[in-house]
Symmetry: T
């Protein structure tokens, strides 16, 4: 039977890089969402402090299968 | 009084076509969401198996009025 | 001699599917526009009623050659 | 510790203007969402009745910090 | 019977703000177009004179039902 | 008094180049539209025949002031 | 071992509808490409003749795994 | 002689609305830039505090003629 | 019988202008591709050397019919 | 050592065509900017007067290496 | 003599991060394509398994000079 | 008092990865720009040499508060 998926939008952050920010977003979402299958990067931003990158921020859409 | 609407993003699938995939997404969403009023197609993708289209996948945004 | 084309934007609707909504838009436009040559889908939306898709709405741009 | 944010999409409406429609969306969302920090305008539409603008509709994404 | 809609693109202007520019566009269009139902903002620009905003310009698409 | 503008979409063609295709579109439109003030390029395409560019096609939006 | 995929862009056509045009594109591509896994709709256009839709044209990107 | 224009990108803010945020951006820019002629809205965002819109933020591109 | 088309992406260059760069791309492609029917401009860039435009670069998508 | 580049946005104009407008923008910018390496077309517009194209306007982003 | 470039679209994957996925795509493509000169990121996605990022997927366009 | 921000566009490069290229851009900009607060990734490209990624290039917009 064909499946149905829902998509949520989350922002993950990391002082290290973009991949780490995505991992943080997915790990956090795993606390409340099950059956996550894929993510897609929507935008990449960051915060600057004292002339240096202080935080990488990645907005991702996460798709998960609806349980039935 | 002016109304407020929320928008959710859902992926419907169908072996038949795009319209059927949208219908599947809306029908499934109706189990948990009430007062749905419109949808908008975000993207159309699909899965291929053995050289043939195996599944049509349509991502839709669905708007519904917030109950008060 | 090179031709000139004009483009109009029309929304067709159908309870059946996206292709039928496009056909309705083109058929209706044919009442007042001649020499239509192509269409391009701009967006695909729809109306939901009682938890089911009630109407598919397709916005199309239609190109037609200007008579001289 | 780096924070995680979630993003919801809401449509606010107002008979007065775009800013008022955004305020309506945020105020309504505050009933159920806490720690909202920013919004971003996605699209601006409206309803026309009897040749006049009857309603301004603004779709916004709202970001809020996830409580831990 | 399903309806058909046409879309026109109009630029309204106002010295006051964006909502007023939209209202001006819709009011003007009402002189020649009937059964207008919705508008959608395409772009927001403006003219500057002597270091101040002299005019807000909003390009809107306006949808109206075709009479039959 | 603030002005109101309408926008039409036209495709001009030329065997020579893009600027010539725009000129052809504007010249043709001048037969039926008055008070044209600006154009904006929407897309640039063309036809190929026998391995050579046979025609440049430029889609432009043309803005003109509404007479009152 | 992580896989590598290539993406080709193909236009399928059909007198019936958009889903059939996608199927035609995939079936045709299967003659020369193996291990196709997904498609994504890029644009939907069509040809009009004598005031009726004569052909649906769907541009799709098709992804396939590179054999090693 | 044809003119040359430069474009700068500025973010204006206001507690009142979008038009006021644009005006603030233009007024501020007028301290250091002369011969500004037009602006174009790039994005509209805002800050939320205690469940209410605390600040409207509009990113605009401002064009000004280069003095010679 | 409906046709199938493939699309390739090519960058043409010219010291003269954009149209010439497109012509160069199409002429070059004609060495290895047959039945080319249309092109579409994707982006226009260029190289600057010693304060002057040294090269116009146009990225085009070229569509050609698949032989059967 | 890796280089750093800055990007400025400029509008060039010409009564002749798009390529000439780009050249005008680059030539003008060369008065104050050194080490320019590339440009990218952002938009193409123009002014119409008395039913004819009076001016081509091309907005370009110009990249130049930062001297150290 | 001006050069001609072709562009291919490839998806690289990596369990580590986005840069590694790009490197994988380029390295793999080097088996069959020569004179590659640049890449451009088209989209960044990934696969999630058991609540963790299992694979980063980057779609890149790769440009290479055509040998003559 | 509401603040005003300016946005500049910079390209950072790195042989290591995208995050490092962003850091390089911000660090370099800090030599001449003060009060930088955020960045936003505009595009990600790179240079290929001898079949390997030789340089990651990230175009970022950097926002900084205007001193008063």
């Amino acid at each position: 039977m064909p499946g149905i998926y829902k998509i949520i939008e989350v922002v993950g952050t990391s002082p290290v890089g973009f991949a780490e920010a995505v991992k943080a977003a997915v790990t956090e979402a795993s606390d409340t969402v099950r059956h996550m299958e894929w993510f897609e990067v929507v935008s990449q931003r960051g915060r600057i402090a004292e002339g240096r990158v202080a935080e990488f921020q990645v907005t991702v859409k996460i798709g998960f299968q609806v349980e039935r």
